[in-house]
């Protein structure tokens, strides 16, 4: 009874919870304009958050592993890219992406790549640290050690920081959205999101409270969902 849930069950529970939240918000939306705004924001937050995480993982996992254990040039390129991307508050990069992209999908994908670079660096650092602690490890051994062994031994142990970062994706997106709105950098024809509820000059307290509470809840849920093996 006290055994922790398996990853599959946690994932299923999270998906069901998110779906329930979306359905509930859709059902409640017609009751008031504030609930409608909240509901539309929720749909965007869930879908965009999941897309950002998916794109970020796609970028981070191979890039982080290659930077840590592959050719040194990839490590150098990743470091330079992270230096570049990390030198600026992400809110400005997001504002430019949003203004420059024609659709929400490309905006979200752009943010996902940005997030992926950051997570790739976290993964790379964790793998390098684990390799330094392991006397049997071969430095930059990707290609010389079997891939399955590398994935099982090294990658699974190094995913902790990456998962923490991933769990903040929805909060990160909403914070960026709020800051972009607050700064007046939001495109006029942009999709209605929680950023409007949280970053508008005079937010409605009820809708803002609901949105901020949901962000916190989603973050906690994602944090609980992304638990790497062997971590309490």
């Amino acid at each position: 009874m006290n055994e922790p849930l398996s990853a599959k069950r946690r994932l299923a529970l999270a998906a069901a919870g998110a779906a329930l939240l979306v359905v509930l918000a859709t059902v409640l939306a017609p009751l008031s304009p504030q609930l409608r705004a909240y509901s539309r924001g929720l749909v965007f937050a869930v879908l965009a958050g999941l897309s950002i995480m998916a794109v970020a993982f796609l970028v981070a996992l191979p890039l982080g592993a290659l930077a840590a254990s592959g050719p040194r040039v990839i490590d150098w390129v990743l470091r330079f890219a992270c230096d570049m991307v990390g030198s600026l508050p992400t809110v400005f990069v997001a504002a430019v992406f949003w203004a420059g992209t024609s659709s929400s999908t490309s905006f979200v994908c752009g943010l996902g790549v940005l997030r992926g670079l950051e997570q790739a660096w976290l993964l790379r650092c964790e793998i390098v640290r684990l390799e330094a602690e392991d006397p049997d490890a071969v430095p930059r051994g990707l290609g010389r050690t079997p891939l399955v062994a590398f994935l099982r031994r090294r990658m699974s142990a190094a995913l902790g920081p990456l998962f923490v970062s991933a769990s903040f994706s929805v909060a990160w997106l909403t914070a960026l959205d709020a800051a972009v709105t607050q700064a007046g950098l939001r495109p006029p024809n942009a999709f209605a999101t929680w950023g409007v509820l949280l970053g508008a000059p005079d937010p409605s307290p009820f809708a803002a409270l609901l949105a901020a509470g949901s962000v916190a809840w989603l973050t906690v849920a994602l944090h609980a969902l992304f638990r790497p093996p062997g971590v309490a």
Partner: protein, 466 residues
């Protein structure tokens, strides 16, 4: 020593690359649909100008357009009148290559230039044949005056002392004298400099036909502003009055771009001027206090607090306490909590609330990362904090700087983040670049400081740390 130089070189290289990226961001943002704020340099390419146009190209194009006639000739006549004396060394020798009708059309198009140069009246040049004869004789008599050395000599003498004849001599060469006149403005520090600027301004305003006046009682500050106006004019239009030959044409492919113009303004000092006329460097100095205060308090208090938090969570044997701690840490790291605080806080609590938010957010964010780092399962949180300083040093700056931008905007604090956001929205390139480059420098310094900590701790035994 070698490592330090390499690191400094790396920082400089990254800052250059970041400045290119930020400039691209600013230009891209300004190009969005429905943008009302257009930079005066918007007509230039952003980074590379494959076909820079100097006075020779512009003048000869105008001559061709006027010779062909039609609608393009109207704009070409205006262009030729604006180019003025600077175009004459290319236009007048080219007249021989045109047919008689085209020659007369071009000669007539130069009438406004002759009037401005005070060498003829419009009545004298009303007829095409008369105008052609006038310009042919003018070039035979005055071609020798259109030499840089002689114009420089005239300008230097006017700058030293006011004599009406010197002023007339410069007006006779019209815009050909612009480069030397702009150069001669120099620095303004004394009343003598003010008098020099007044003399030069009189000629400049005449030949450019711009309504820029220097009153007789102008102060040093007034004269300095006037010089800035002329330098801005030259930054924008300088290439139109200069021949681009050889290496200068090659350099113009970079200089005659939006980025090149911004860099020129930076090299002139003060990081350029904002749309309101303020020096961008002053803007950075004003915002730096608030932002660095938020950053260092957030970092200095938030990071140790995060370590203590993780330590408390790890040592707690009660499951509910650990769960509540984890949930609180995760929820507090979600930056939109700033909105709650804004609702609760009064206007006077702005800075205090902002500091609290940045500190708590940092602490929560650090504690979550430490709690999930595999390192922290075996050694103390302090050792883990040092151990993970390199990856956190890479991801913390953009996170905390975004948080700082948000709180500065919400509480209307006069920091760099707010300045950068508002200037990006307003299309104020110099203010945006100054504020965002300062933020980038802070971020890079944080990253490299984190990198420096790691090798130091690697030499010691991490497990022995408390």
């Amino acid at each position: 020593m070698r490592a330090a130089i390499r690191r400094l070189f790396g920082i400089a290289l990254t800052l250059i690359a970041v400045s290119v990226g930020m400039f691209w961001a600013s230009a891209s943002y300004a190009r969005r649909a429905g943008n009302e704020h257009v930079s005066p340099f918007a007509a230039f390419p952003v980074f590379f100008n494959p076909h820079p146009s100097g006075v020779r190209d512009l003048a000869l194009n105008a001559v061709q357009a006027i010779a062909h006639g039609g609608l393009p000739a109207v704009a070409a006549r205006l262009s030729l009148a604006r180019l003025g004396g600077a175009a004459l060394p290319y236009v007048l020798p080219a007249l021989d290559s045109l047919d008689p009708r085209s020659r007369e059309r071009v000669a007539l198009a130069l009438t406004p230039v002759a009037v401005r140069m005070e060498v003829a009246s419009s009545e004298e040049l009303a007829d095409g044949a008369q105008a052609l004869l006038f310009w042919t004789r003018f070039w035979q008599d005055r071609a020798i005056d259109f030499r840089v050395a002689s114009v420089r000599h005239l300008t230097t003498r006017l700058a030293e002392r006011s004599i009406a004849l010197r002023r007339e001599d410069l007006i006779h060469v019209d815009t050909f004298a612009l480069p030397t006149l702009i150069d001669a403005l120099g620095r303004v520090e004394t009343p003598d400099d003010v008098a020099r600027v007044r003399r030069l301004n009189s000629v400049l305003a005449h030949i450019t036909e711009l309504p820029v006046a220097c009153p007789p009682d102008a102060s040093v500050a007034d004269a300095q502003r006037l010089v800035e106006v002329w330098r801005d004019f030259w930054d924008l239009h300088g290439s139109e009055y200069t021949a681009l030959d050889g290496p200068r044409r090659l350099a113009a492919t970079f200089v005659e771009t939006q980025y090149g113009k911004w860099l020129a303004a930076v090299l002139r000092g003060g990081l350029g001027r904002t749309q309101s006329g303020q020096r961008a460097l002053d803007l950075v100095e004003q915002g730096l206090t608030t932002t660095s205060f938020l950053l260092f308090v957030g970092l200095g208090v938030g990071f140790p607090l995060g370590v203590v938090w993780t330590r408390f969570e790890r040592r707690s044997h009660r499951l509910p306490t650990r769960v509540v701690s984890a949930i609180a840490g995760t929820a507090l790291a979600a930056i939109p909590c700033a909105t709650f605080v804004r609702m609760c806080a009064g206007p006077s609590a702005g800075l205090v609330s902002a500091i609290l938010i940045v500190t708590i957010t940092t602490a929560a964010w650090v504690s979550r990362h430490l709690a999930r780092s595999t390192m922290s399962q075996s050694v103390s949180p302090i050792a883990a904090a040092f151990s993970v300083s390199a990856p956190l040093g890479a991801t913390y700056p953009p996170f905390v700087l975004s948080a700082i931008v948000l709180v500065e905007l919400i509480f209307q604090l006069p920091g760099l983040g707010r300045t950068a956001a508002l200037s990006l929205a307003a299309g104020d390139v110099n203010a945006w670049m100054a504020a965002s480059l300062s933020l980038a420098s802070a971020s890079l310094l944080l990253r490299h400081a984190a990198d420096l900590i790691r090798p130091l701790t690697a030499q010691g035994d991490l497990a022995s740390l408390p």
